[in-house]
């Protein structure tokens, strides 16, 4: 019955990749993917919070009464989010300024609550870590790929480095809000196309 640790990890990268398959946690996906750097920073923050909260929820799963489990999950998640926020302020302030409000908003990200409820509350610590890492990596991968697409087309740069040279006319639409929706929609349709074969 139990899947292997590797399977738990790998499922997050394709079968249950959060924004594309579970279609969860779309708010940061749309908002912070203006560049690869922002996407990566956000992704790393989410991986940290997800792994920590999964570990704790799984450790405490026999103590937490099921009637107040959501409240407990939120307390745990919120704690780690503030930890990330403080650490980011202390060590990567420039990134913190760019991500701004979306760091505290990780608290209400459905990916985290979803994993706590659907996985960590029912499984042991080791599979929960694997699940957290896998789903987190999938989330980061999605943010980075959307970020790359938008940054390359909309700004002509990748990680701040120029890709096409100075003759390139940036497709500014892509780095603005509507571009995020178009980009996400295209990616979703591609994923479905690839998955249905």
């Amino acid at each position: 019955m139990a899947k292997s640790i590797t399977q738990e990890f790998v499922k997050g990268l394709w079968d249950e990749i959060p924004p594309f398959r579970l279609v969860l946690g779309l708010c940061p996906v749309l908002a912070v993917t203006k560049s690869v750097e922002n996407g990566l920073g956000m992704g790393v923050a989410v991986v940290f919070v997800l792994v920590c909260s999964n570990i704790l929820v799984s450790l405490l799963r026999n103590i937490i009464p099921s009637k107040v489990r959501i409240a407990c999950f939120i307390v745990i998640i919120a704690t780690f989010v503030i930890v990330v926020e403080l650490l980011m302020q202390a060590y990567t302030y420039a990134l913190f300024l760019k991500l701004g409000i979306f760091i505290p908003l990780i608290v209400v990200n459905c990916v985290l609550l979803g994993r706590a409820e659907a996985f960590a509350y029912k499984n042991g610590v080791i599979p929960s870590i694997a699940d957290g890492l896998g789903i987190g990596a999938g989330f980061t991968l999605s943010l980075v790929s959307i970020g790359a697409l938008r940054e390359v087309l909309g700004n002509g740069t990748f990680f701040g480095m120029s890709v096409f040279g100075s003759s390139f006319q940036p497709f500014t639409f892509m780095v603005e809000a509507p571009g995020a929706f178009v980009c996400l929609g295209l990616m979703l349709s591609m994923m479905n196309l690839a998955g249905n074969k």
């Binding site: 405490l60 307390v75 930890v83 403080l86 302020q89």
Partner: protein, 196 residues
């Protein structure tokens, strides 16, 4: 009944642990965050005011208690002598407080330059107070012990067109800085000696 007690106990213990952890981390990162904020928010203004100094003004800073609050002063060393410093004050602008960094030379009580640190003025109009050097250059060489006013109020500063309230706010901030300077000058002179 037992279930309710269990819920209360679990939630209480969990919340207190979380509170404790956060307090510990906050305590541990407080100084670091303060330095980062100085570097990114006030740093650019400080550096442009004290341009050409041979030290790092953000490292060479001291604090003086002024009533209930502590003010930070950033020392600039020119030609091996520390007699110039920058500090922040605030004036009322159009969209809230405008933070103004003022650089003063201790020997002749003159303003060397000013710079806007934080503001919420109208982009493109009031925000010129921060970006337009023509406006901020007018403050260079003014006496740091006198109140400063825009021309319509009987002063000598040309206001930014369309942004009279912002210009008044900046002048108010510089005037506040003059008040602070007059009040704290003896302490500043005392502290700044340590950097010579």
């Amino acid at each position: 009944m037992r279930e309710i007690i269990k819920m209360i106990v679990v939630l209480t213990v969990l919340s207190s642990f979380s509170g404790g952890l956060l307090a510990a981390i906050r305590g541990g990162t407080k100084d670091k965050i303060e330095t980062q904020q100085l570097l990114f928010v006030k740093g650019p203004a400080i550096r442009s005011i004290l341009e050409g100094c041979s030290n790092d003004p953000i490292v060479d800073r001291f604090k003086i208690k002024d009533g209930d609050i502590e003010r930070s002063f950033f020392v600039g060393i020119f030609d091996g002598k520390a007699n110039t410093f920058a500090f922040e004050s605030a004036g009322k602008g159009f969209g809230g407080d405008i933070g103004i960094m003022v650089g003063v030379t201790l020997d002749n009580d003159k303003i060397i330059d000013i710079g806007v640190t934080t503001h919420s003025e109208t982009p493109g109009i009031g925000s010129k107070a921060k970006t337009d050097p023509k406006f901020s250059n007018q403050f260079k060489g003014l006496a740091a012990v006198e109140l400063c006013k825009v021309k319509p109020d009987g002063g000598e500063i040309d206001s930014i067109s369309g942004a009279t309230v912002t210009s008044r706010g900046v002048c108010g901030g510089v005037s506040n800085a003059a008040e602070i300077y007059k009040r704290l000058k003896p302490q500043i002179a005392e502290k700044i000696k340590e950097f010579n």
